[in-house]
Subunit: 159 residues, 2 copies
DNA sequence: TAAGAATCCATTGACGCCCATGAAATCCCA
DNA sequence: TGGGATTTCATGGGCGTCAATGGATTCTTA
């Protein structure tokens, strides 16, 4: 099974375009493949971080899976649907492997607005990936490493 | 089951390439085999040492296993994912059994940057192997031996 | 028709792929 | 058992391709 792995930093140009790292594109194409040109990625503000969650078909199905457990027409389901689907944007990938990040998403991730040139960091998380402001991600990474230290015994323990 | 054993030291050339010791390559091919050319090794900064941890498919599955227990969309999972997947680089092995070490990884392992030529040491650790700066590893090895001596005395004393 | 958006084209620099060289270990056969 | 032949590896370098990026051109829509 293909996963989104490792991190890449690309340029966000004056038009708001940014190239999706080639390895991620490859995963997307195999995963949520939908015919040439018509393919797109699901992208929404991360609930608990100043970042964007992105993925392909598999991610969408996972969201569906969360809702599947709840009864139809229940209030709880409606609320969760809104939370999960409400802010999702489907971004189309152009012929050169780039997407355009809408203003609303950039605001949430703390990426430069307007015609400013900036950098964005793509972080692979297995079955999805996140888009970060590079500096913000660097500090988050430090925290993550410390957490990983705590889990270290788990890593070494099982053979 | 094949294991990575013993240590080898190879040259890191001006392009940042280094040959993977043939015995390790053999293990990788049997382990994480994925069709010709498409194969690669998973490599990330060691959490508690100035070295790089590397392995094949088996190592990747181990990481998956750690995450499998955590619920989707939990903050804890995201955090651990960052540490586990975010720092991982998938290095492809060329036709001659070489990989290129990206700048970020070389920095962590204290390997010469830029076009400088250097040596790197491959250390087998069973189901994974590490990449070290030769001098750093040598001093580390001394400590390990001393520790081993102490253990032996303790063990012998009881018997 | 103007502004914004989407598509197309061009440049450049990195990376993957291929071949050549040389050293060392292994094998083979007398 | 020794010496020559063969194969395996590590290493160096050249070249072609592809990805990232910037800019131009066309399409859409108000």
């Amino acid at each position: 099974m293909d996963r989104f792995v490792s991190t890449f930093t690309n340029k966000l140009d004056a038009k708001g375009r940014v190239s999706i790292p080639a390895p991620f594109r490859a995963v997307l194409e195999r995963d949520g493949y939908r015919g040439a040109g018509a393919s797109g990625i699901y992208c929404y503000p991360s609930i608990d971080a100043a970042a964007l969650d992105c993925g392909g078909e598999r991610l969408a199905q996972k969201i569906d899976g969360l809702l599947a457990g709840l009864p139809d027409y229940s209030e709880e389901r409606d609320e969760l649907s809104v939370a999960l689907y409400g802010d999702v944007q489907v971004l189309s990938i152009d012929g050169d492997g780039r997407i355009v990040l809408p203003e609303e998403l950039r605001a949430h991730a703390g990426l430069a607005t307007q015609g400013t040139i900036a950098q964005v960091t793509f972080v692979g998380l297995g079955d999805k990936f996140q888009i970060w402001n590079p500096e913000a991600f660097e500090s988050r990474r430090k925290i993550a490493r410390e957490k990983a230290m705590e889990h270290r015994k788990l890593l070494g323990g099982k053979g």
